[in-house]
C-alpha cells in the first residue's frame, strides 16, 4: 500500500514537472506570438475621443495607418514597426518616432496597446478589414506638402 502511495506521488510529481515544463514553453510563446498576432488590420474608435483609426501591420515590419481626428478625411501615415518582449515600437516614414512605445496584450479579436509613459493610456483595437473607401479616399497629411502628381481619369 505504502509503495502504491509512493508510486502515485511519484507519478503526480512527474506530471507536475511535465506541466511545469509545458507552462515554461507557453511562457516563451508571447515573444513569437505577439509579433505574429500584431500582423493584420485593426481598428480603434476609443470612447471620449472624436477619432477613427485603422492600421495595417504587415509581416515585413511595415505599417499603413489611416486616421481621422475630428473632421475631414482620413490622413494616411506609413512607417515601420517591431516588437521586442511584447513591446511595440515604430517609426513613421518621415523619421518621426512614435509618441510612445506600447505594451501589447491580446484577448480574442482585440489588441490592447498600453502606452509606456506616465499616462499609461490604453487603447483597444479590434481586428477588422480596412474598408476600401478609407484607403482610397485617404490623403497625405497636408502639412507634408506632398500631392499626387500623376494624371487622372
Amino acid at each position: 500500500m505504502k509503495a502504491k502511495i509512493y508510486s502515485i506521488i511519484s507519478v503526480l510529481c512527474a506530471a507536475l514537472l511535465f506541466i511545469g515544463c509545458a507552462k515554461e514553453k507557453k511562457q516563451d510563446a508571447p515573444k513569437v506570438d505577439a509579433t505574429t498576432k500584431v500582423v493584420g488590420e485593426w481598428h480603434c474608435a476609443p470612447e471620449g475621443y472624436d477619432v477613427d483609426v485603422y492600421v495595417a501591420f504587415d509581416a515585413a515590419g511595415s505599417f499603413e495607418e489611416y486616421q481621422r481626428l475630428g473632421e475631414g478625411r482620413y490622413r494616411h501615415y506609413a512607417g515601420t514597426w517591431s516588437v521586442d518582449k511584447s513591446v511595440l515600437s515604430g517609426v513613421y516614414a518621415d523619421g518621426t518616432e512614435w509618441g510612445s512605445t506600447y505594451t501589447l496584450s491580446f484577448e480574442g479579436e482585440t489588441m490592447t496597446l498600453t502606452a509606456n509613459n506616465e499616462s499609461a493610456e490604453a487603447i483597444v483595437y479590434t481586428k477588422t478589414t480596412i474598408p476600401a473607401e478609407v484607403k482610397d479616399d485617404a490623403i497625405e497629411p497636408l502639412g507634408s506638402e506632398t500631392r499626387a502628381e500623376e494624371c487622372w481619369f
Partner: protein, 670 residues
C-alpha cells in the same frame, strides 16, 4: 470738423461782405478764393488727377435727398447749378435692390452731374461747391487694368515642345497650361518648377464646377460668343426671351442678357461691346482662366469650367472698360451693385489704382467713397448670393508696378489682393507685393520663358478673334493671377455645395486665404531676371511679402471637408504645426493672438495661456479631452489694414485640440 465749419462760415461771411463793399474785379477774385476754400473742404480725394472729364459725383445732404424724393429734383437742380447748363443730373447709381442697405451705406445720396467736357472739372466743382445741398464732391476717378495689355497670339508658340496632356479632358491646348498643372517642363521655362500651379487636377476628381456659382467679371467685355466661353455665360433668361429694347425682368437694365456694359465714357449704350477702338481682349482672357468650358474638344481647360457636362461655373460680363475708354468710379460702383443684385457671388476685378495713389485705407475711402461703399454693398452678408458661403467675395489684382504695396481697392481688408508668380514658383518682376497683398497665384512670366518660346511661360487663355486674329493668347500680369484665385474660390463654393457644407460670415474667405502652399522658403536668397536684366528680382525682398502663400485648390477642398484635430500629449508642453489650418506658410504668418474660453481651459486643463512661437502653437494640457481654441492671424504682411494703415486682413481659425496620453510630433496617431 469744427475748424472746417468755421472755415466755411468765414468763407460765406466773407463772400457776403465782399459782395457789399468791394469793386467788381476784387470781389470776383476774392469770391474765387472763398469758393476754392469751400471746394477744398468738400472735395474728397483731391489728390486724384485722373478723372472723367465733364463729370462729377456729388454727395447730397439728407434734406436735399428728401426733397428730390418728393419730386422736387428740378428745383434742387436749379438751386445747385444756379440755372447753369448741365447735360444731366441724376442718381449716380441705378437703385439697388437692397434699398435698406444702400441707404445705410449712403449710396442713395450720390448724384452724378454731367456737363460740357470743355469746362475743366475743377472749375465746375468750384462753382457748385458752395451749394448748401452738397455735402461732398468727388471727382469721377478713372482706373486702369492690371495688365501690360500685350496679347501674344498662340500661333507664335514654338511647335517642337514635348508636353504631355495634363488630364483626360480633351481640350487640345491644355498641355500648355502650366498654371493648372506644372510638370516642371523646361519647354515652358528653364527654371520651371514641378507643382508650381493651382493644384486643380486632384480637386477636379471631386468637383469641376457648378452652374449656380456666378462670377461677375468687372473688366473689359467677355466675348460671350467665344467658342470656349459661350456655354459658360450666365444668361438672363427673361432678357434673352424678352423684347429687344425693353427691360423684361424689371431690373432697370435693358437687354442685359449676359451682363451689361457700364462704361459711361464710350458710346456702347449698355451693350457689351468688343469692337470699340483700343480693345485688348483683357476681360475675355480673364474669363477663360475661370470658366472656359472643359472637355469640349476646343481650346483650353479652366479652373472651374466643369467636366464637359454643362457643369461649369457661370460668367457674368460686367463690362466697365470699353476699348480706349477707361472706367470711372461711377461705372465700377454700378457694376458692383449689379453683380450683387443679379446673383454673382464673386466679383473678379483685375484692376487697381496705381499703388502710389493712396497711402492708406482712409485715403482710398475718402477719395473713392462711392466705389468703396459699392464694394461694401457687394460683400455685405445680407447680399450673399450663394447658400454655401456667408458673404460674397471681391477679388482684385495687386497691380503691376513692382511696388512694395498693393494697389487699391484690393488692398482693403474687405477685399482679396492677388500677387503673381511665374512657372518657377517665384515672384514675377512686375508684381506688386508687401502691404495689402493677401495671396499669390500664377500670373505668367515672359522674362523667364524658354528660348524660342518665351510666350509659354505666360498664361494661355481665351481672346477675342477680332482683336488678336486668334481665339487664344498668352498674357501676363497680376490681372492674370487674380482670376486664378477667383476660379479656385468658385470651384470651392461648388464643392462645398456639392457635399452640403455651409460656412458663416467670413469663414470661407479665411479658408481661401489659408488654402496655400509655401513659397516663402524659395525666397530666402538668389535673384531672377526681369525684362532682360539678369538679377533684376532680388528674391529676399519678397520673402513673406507675397501674401499667405500660393493658392491651391486641393488644399481648399480639404479645408472645406473639415480640418483634423491637433493632437497633443497630456502633461507635456507641446509645439504644434498649424499648416493644416493656416496653409503651407503657417510658420511665416504674423499671429494676432489666441482665444481660449473658460470651458476649453477647464476641459483641457490649461493653466497658462497658449502662445505662438516661431509660427507654431505652444500649449500644455493637464487633462485628457477635446476643445476648440481660436487663433487669429494676418493674411498678408505684418500689420493689419484699416484706418491710416495699409496692410493685411485678419483671419481667424477655430483649432480643435485633442489632449491624450500619447501624440506624435508629426500628427500621427501612434
Amino acid at each position: 470738423m469744427r475748424k472746417s465749419l468755421i472755415a466755411i462760415g468765414v468763407a460765406i461771411i466773407s463772400l457776403m461782405t465782399i459782395s457789399c463793399t468791394k469793386d467788381a474785379g476784387v470781389v470776383e477774385e476774392e469770391k474765387t478764393m472763398a469758393a476754392e476754400a469751400i471746394l477744398e473742404h468738400k472735395l474728397v480725394g483731391n489728390t486724384i488727377d485722373k478723372c472723367e472729364e465733364g463729370s462729377l459725383l456729388l454727395f447730397l445732404e439728407e434734406e436735399t435727398i428728401a426733397r428730390i424724393e418728393k419730386g422736387d429734383i428740378e428745383a434742387v437742380k436749379s438751386e445747385i447749378f444756379l440755372g447753369g447748363d448741365v447735360v444731366s443730373f441724376e442718381p449716380a447709381l441705378v437703385t439697388p435692390k437692397n434699398e435698406k442697405l444702400a441707404r445705410e451705406l449712403g449710396l442713395h445720396r450720390w448724384y452724378s452731374v454731367s456737363f460740357d467736357k470743355n469746362i475743366p472739372v475743377r472749375k465746375f466743382a468750384k462753382e457748385v461747391a458752395p451749394s448748401k445741398h452738397i455735402s461732398a464732391i468727388e471727382f469721377n476717378t478713372v482706373v486702369a487694368l492690371a495688365s501690360d495689355y500685350k496679347a501674344r497670339p498662340m500661333s507664335d508658340m514654338a511647335d517642337t515642345r514635348d508636353l504631355v496632356p495634363m488630364s483626360s479632358f480633351n481640350d487640345p491646348n491644355a498641355k500648355y497650361q502650366w498654371n493648372l498643372h506644372n510638370s516642371g517642363d523646361e519647354a515652358i521655362a528653364k527654371t520651371a518648377r514641378k507643382g508650381a500651379d493651382v493644384g486643380v487636377l486632384d480637386a477636379w476628381k471631386l468637383c469641376a464646377g457648378s452652374p449656380d456659382v456666378i462670377v461677375a467679371v468687372l473688366d473689359g467685355p467677355v466675348q460671350y460668343t467665344h467658342p470656349d466661353l459661350a456655354a459658360a455665360m450666365w444668361v438672363n433668361e427673361a432678357e434673352l426671351n424678352g423684347v429687344e429694347g425693353v427691360d423684361d425682368d424689371g431690373n432697370k437694365y435693358v437687354d442685359d442678357i449676359y451682363g451689361y456694359n457700364f462704361n459711361s465714357a464710350g458710346d456702347s449704350n449698355g451693350k457689351i461691346s468688343w469692337s470699340t477702338e483700343g480693345e485688348s481682349g483683357h476681360g475675355t482672357h480673364v474669363a477663360g482662366v475661370i470658366a472656359a468650358v472643359n472637355n469640349n474638344g476646343v481650346g483650353i481647360s479652366s479652373i472651374a469650367g466643369g467636366s464637359g457636362n454643362g457643369d461649369g461655373v457661370r460668367l457674368m460680363s460686367c463690362q466697365v472698360f470699353d476699348g480706349k475708354y477707361p472706367a470711372s468710379d461711377r461705372d465700377m460702383s454700378n457694376a458692383f451693385i449689379y453683380a450683387a443684385d443679379n446673383g454673382a457671388c464673386i466679383a473678379q476685378c483685375s484692376y487697381a489704382y496705381d499703388p502710389n495713389t493712396f497711402a492708406n485705407d482712409n485715403a482710398y475711402i475718402n477719395a473713392t467713397s462711392l466705389e468703396y461703399n459699392a464694394i461694401k454693398y457687394f460683400v455685405s452678408p445680407e447680399n450673399c448670393n450663394h447658400t454655401a458661403i456667408g458673404q460674397n467675395l471681391a477679388i482684385f489684382a495687386s497691380g503691376n508696378e513692382a511696388t512694395s504695396n498693393a494697389g487699391y481697392p484690393g488692398a482693403l481688408p474687405i477685399c482679396v489682393s492677388v500677387t503673381a508668380y511665374g512657372p518657377d514658383y517665384l515672384p514675377t518682376g512686375y508684381t506688386n507685393y508687401g502691404r495689402g497683398c493677401n495671396i499669390a497665384a500664377p500670373g505668367g512670366d515672359y522674362s523667364i520663358g524658354a528660348q524660342n518660346s518665351f510666350n509659354a511661360s505666360q498664361i494661355l487663355s481665351t481672346c477675342i478673334r477680332d482683336v488678336a486674329y486668334v481665339d487664344y493668347v498668352w498674357m501676363e500680369g497680376t490681372s492674370m493671377a487674380c482670376p486664378h484665385v477667383s476660379g479656385v474660390a468658385a470651384l470651392g463654393i461648388s464643392y462645398a455645395a456639392k457635399i452640403g457644407k455651409k460656412f458663416e460670415g467670413d469663414d470661407y474667405r479665411t479658408m481661401l486665404l489659408t488654402a496655400v502652399n509655401d513659397i516663402n522658403s524659395l525666397m530666402l536668397d538668389g535673384t531672377k531676371p526681369y525684362n532682360g536684366v539678369a538679377d533684376a528680382v532680388v528674391l529676399k525682398n519678397y520673402h513673406k511679402r507675397m501674401g499667405t502663400g500660393a493658392i491651391d485648390a486641393w488644399r481648399l477642398f480639404m479645408q472645406i471637408e473639415g480640418t483634423p484635430s491637433v493632437a497633443v500629449t497630456v502633461g507635456e508642453r507641446c509645439t504644434v504645426d498649424l499648416r493644416e489650418y493656416f496653409g503651407g506658410s503657417a510658420t511665416d504668418l504674423t499671429y494676432r493672438g489666441i482665444e481660449v474660453s473658460n470651458e476649453a481651459k477647464a476641459a483641457l486643463g490649461i493653466k497658462g495661456d497658449p502662445k505662438i512661437d516661431d509660427g507654431m502653437l505652444v500649449i500644455k494640457c493637464e487633462n485628457c479631452g477635446s476643445a476648440k481654441i481660436t487663433i487669429k492671424a494676418i493674411a498678408g504682411g505684418g500689420q493689419l489694414g484699416g484706418g491710416n494703415n495699409i496692410g493685411g486682413t485678419e483671419i481667424s481659425r477655430e483649432v480643435s485640440i485633442m489632449s491624450r496620453g500619447v501624440s506624435s510630433t508629426n500628427g500621427g496617431w501612434f
